[in-house]
C-alpha cells in the first residue's frame, strides 16, 4: 500500500495557528497529540504513563484505532425537552461514530453520569471505562425554539477542551444543532474543521435501468431531510454546488438537448446557460467566486472545455483539440484546472492553467482515469479509475504521484469532497439487469466505507460547504 499518510515526527510546538495543508492522518494525529500535550503542560499536570496512553489515535499499517468517547444523553433543562435531548445526543453520537475515528462507549458501561450540565466531572469514573473524551450537554425546548449546550473534556488530563458552547435556533433545525456540536467536538480533538453541518445535492433515481427517472435532490450529509429540487420529467445529471452552497449547476434535458441550468437552492428558481443550437453543454462546475462556470461543450462531435461568466455571458474556450476534454474542476486557489482528456488514446488526467494553455498530464497508471476533483485543501485530486473491468475511486497528489485507490466495485464513479477534504462521497451502481445506484462515503485513507442512506437510488453527489 502506498503510504501517503506516513507518520511525521511529532512537532514540539503548539500548532494552534499554523495551517498545515498536508492532508494526512498523521498530521491530524500529530496535531491531536501536540494539542493534548500542550493542554497537559498548560495544566502543569505531570504526564503519567496513564495519561500518555489515551492521547494516541494509533496509526498502524494505515489502520487507526478509534478513540473511545462517552456521551451521556444530553440533559433536558426544561420539562418536555427529553425527546429532543435524546434525539440530539443520538445524532451527535452517529456523527462521531460515523467517522470511524471515534467509538462511542455504551451507556451501560458508565459508572456514573454527570449530576448536571457544568457540574464537576468525576474523571476517575470515566478513566475507569477508558473514555478518552467526554461530551456533556443540555437541551432546552421553549415553544419552537431550542437551545443546545455542550462541553468537551479530555478525561485523562482531567481538563475541559476548549470552552462550552451554546447553539440556539428553531426546533425544526435541531439536526443542524446536533451537527454543529459534532463539528466542534471533531474539530477540537483532531485540529481540523468538521463536515457534519453540510448538505449534499445529488440525483435521486427510481425505476429500472432502461426507464430510469432522475430528479435533483438535496439532503443533509448523513442522508436526512431529503428534499427534491426538480421533477423527473427530463433527465438531470451531475449537480454541482456553488462554493457557498446557495446555487446548484446541473445538466438538464428539458429542452431535448443537454443544457446547463443554474438553480437557486432557496427559491428553486432556475436559469439556463445560453447554448447555441446544435451544441451540447454538460459537466459544469463553479469557479471559487461562484461567478464563472467551467464546463464541456460538444460541437460537431468534438468536446472541449469552456468557461462562461454568469453575469456577462461571455465565453472563453480553454481547450482546442479533436479529443474529448471534459470533467473540469478548479484548484481551490483558482489558478489551475484539472480535467480528463483522451488525447493520448485513453482517458487520462491533465492539469492546465485557469485560462487554458498547454496542460500537463498527471495520470500514468494502467487503465483509464476520469472525473477528477480537486480537494478543498488543494493537495489531492480524487478521480474515477477504470481498469480491467473494475471501477475505483482514488486519490493522487496534484502532480500525479502517490496514487492510492480507495474503493473497488463493478461501477464506482463521481467522487466529491467533504468540505474538510478528509472524506469522499461517490456513487456505486450494482451489476446486472436489476442494478441499482446508491451513495457511499469513504475516508481518504480508504477506511470506513459506508452507504449513505437515501430514500431511493442516488448518483452524482456534490458535497456542499459547511453551513453558517
Amino acid at each position: 500500500m502506498t503510504d501517503i499518510f506516513r507518520s511525521d515526527p511529532p512537532k514540539r510546538k503548539l500548532p494552534v495557528e499554523k495551517r498545515d495543508n498536508k492532508v494526512s492522518m498523521s498530521a491530524m494525529m500529530t496535531k491531536f497529540m501536540t494539542f493534548m500535550t500542550a493542554i497537559m503542560i498548560a495544566m502543569a499536570a505531570p504526564p503519567s504513563a496513564q495519561a500518555q496512553e489515551p492521547l494516541r489515535l494509533t496509526l498502524r499499517d494505515g489502520v487507526i484505532e478509534a478513540l473511545p468517547f462517552a456521551l451521556p444523553a444530553f440533559q433536558s433543562e426544561v420539562a418536555g425537552s427529553e425527546q429532543m435531548a435524546a434525539d440530539i445526543s443520538r445524532v451527535i453520537a452517529e456523527d462521531l461514530n460515523g467517522t470511524g475515528l471515534f467509538r462511542q462507549i455504551p451507556a451501560s458501561a458508565f459508572i456514573s453520569t454527570p449530576a448536571g450540565f457544568g457540574a464537576p466531572i468525576a474523571f476517575p469514573d470515566w478513566r475507569a471505562i477508558n473514555a478518552q473524551a467526554l461530551v456533556t450537554g443540555a437541551v432546552a425546548v421553549n415553544g419552537s425554539q431550542v437551545t443546545v449546550k455542550f462541553r468537551l473534556y479530555d478525561v485523562f488530563s482531567g481538563a475541559e477542551m476548549g470552552e462550552g458552547l451554546q447553539f440556539a435556533g428553531t426546533t425544526d433545525g435541531w439536526r443542524r444543532m446536533a451537527h454543529k456540536v459534532s463539528d466542534a467536538v471533531y474539530s477540537r480533538i483532531t485540529g481540523e474543521a468538521g463536515y457534519f453541518d453540510s448538505r449534499v445535492v445529488y440525483v435521486a433515481e427510481t425505476g429500472p435501468k432502461d426507464d430510469r427517472a432522475k430528479r435533483l435532490a438535496i439532503m443533509d450529509y448523513d442522508g436526512a431531510n431529503v428534499q427534491y429540487l426538480t421533477d423527473s420529467s427530463a433527465i438531470v445529471l451531475a449537480p454541482r454546488f456553488s462554493p457557498t452552497g446557495d446555487r446548484v449547476l446541473y445538466t438538464s434535458y428539458e429542452s431535448g438537448f443537454p443544457r446547463i441550468n443554474v438553480l437557486d437552492v432557496a427559491t428553486v428558481g432556475r436559469q439556463q446557460l445560453a447554448t447555441a443550437d446544435g451544441e451540447m453543454a454538460f459537466s459544469p462546475r463553479f469557479s471559487l467566486d461562484g461567478r464563472q462556470v467551467i464546463y464541456s461543450l460538444a460541437n460537431g462531435g468534438n468536446t472541449d472545455i469552456y468557461r462562461t461568466d454568469l453575469a456577462t455571458g461571455q465565453s472563453t474556450r480553454l481547450t482546442n483539440t479533436p479529443a474529448i476534454e471534459t470533467a473540469p474542476s478548479f484548484s481551490p486557489d483558482g489558478s489551475q484546472i484539472v480535467f480528463e482528456s483522451d488525447r493520448s488514446g485513453t482517458q487520462q488526467l491533465y492539469v492546465m492553467g485557469a485560462n487554458g494553455g498547454e496542460p500537463q498530464r498527471i495520470s500514468f497508471g494502467n487503465g483509464r482515469y476520469g472525473t477528477p476533483v480537486w480537494s478543498p485543501r488543494g493537495d489531492l485530486i480524487a478521480f474515477t479509475k477504470q481498469e480491467a473491468g473494475r471501477f475505483h475511486i482514488g486519490v493522487m497528489r496534484t502532480d500525479g504521484t502517490e496514487e492510492r485507490l480507495l474503493t473497488s466495485s463493478f461501477l464506482d464513479e463521481g467522487p466529491t469532497w467533504a468540505p474538510n477534504g478528509r472524506v469522499i462521497m461517490f456513487a456505486r451502481e450494482t451489476q446486472g439487469a436489476d442494478g441499482t445506484t446508491g451513495l457511499y462515503s469513504v475516508d481518504i485513507t480508504g477506511r470506513n466505507l459506508r452507504r449513505v442512506t437515501t430514500p431511493q437510488g442516488g448518483s452524482d453527489p456534490s458535497w456542499g460547504p459547511l453551513q453558517r
Binding site: K209, D210, I235, G256, P258, S283, T303, G370, T371, G435
Partner: protein, 175 residues
Amino acid sequence: MKYLIKAVLVIGALTLSACTNADRFDNADAVDLNAQNGANGVNQTALDPSQNPSSPQFFSQTIGDRVLFEVDTSTLTAAGRATLDGQAGWLTTNSDYLAVIEGHADEQGTREYNLALGARRANAVREYLISKGLPSSRIRTVSYGKERPIAVCSEEACYAQNRRAVTIISIAQSS
C-alpha cells in the same frame, strides 16, 4: 429484398393517404401481412405501415434506424454504413422529414465521458448522411451517454446493443 420493396412500393403508393400520422414507432401491434393468407379465403386488413416505404415504420424497421459501434469507438462499421446508405436514400426521397441522431454508450464508462462519446457517435452518423448528400440543416444530434440503455444486462450482449446511434425522424414543423 429488392423485390419486396418494389412490391410494397406499389401497394404503399395506393394507401399513402392512410398514413397521415407521422407520429412514428408506436406501432407495437402491427399486423403481420404474411399471417393473413390463411385458408383460401380473402382477408381484408389494414396494411402494416412498416410495409409502406414512405412510412416512419418502414424507415425504422425495414431500413433500420440504428447503427452499432465497437467499444469506445465512433467508427462506422460496414454494416452501419450500409444501414446509413438506406437512411440517406429514404431521407432524400422523403424530404419533408428531419432527423435527430441520438448517440448512446454502454454503462462501462464514466458519465461525462460517455456523453462526449455519444456525441462523437451521433456526429459520425450525421457526417456520413451529409456525405451522401443530405443537407446539414435537416440533421441534428444529441447524446444521451449511458443514460438510456435499451438492454439492461451487464454483459457484452447488452452492451453491444447499447453502443448505438439511432436516427429519429419527424415531419418538419414549419411545412
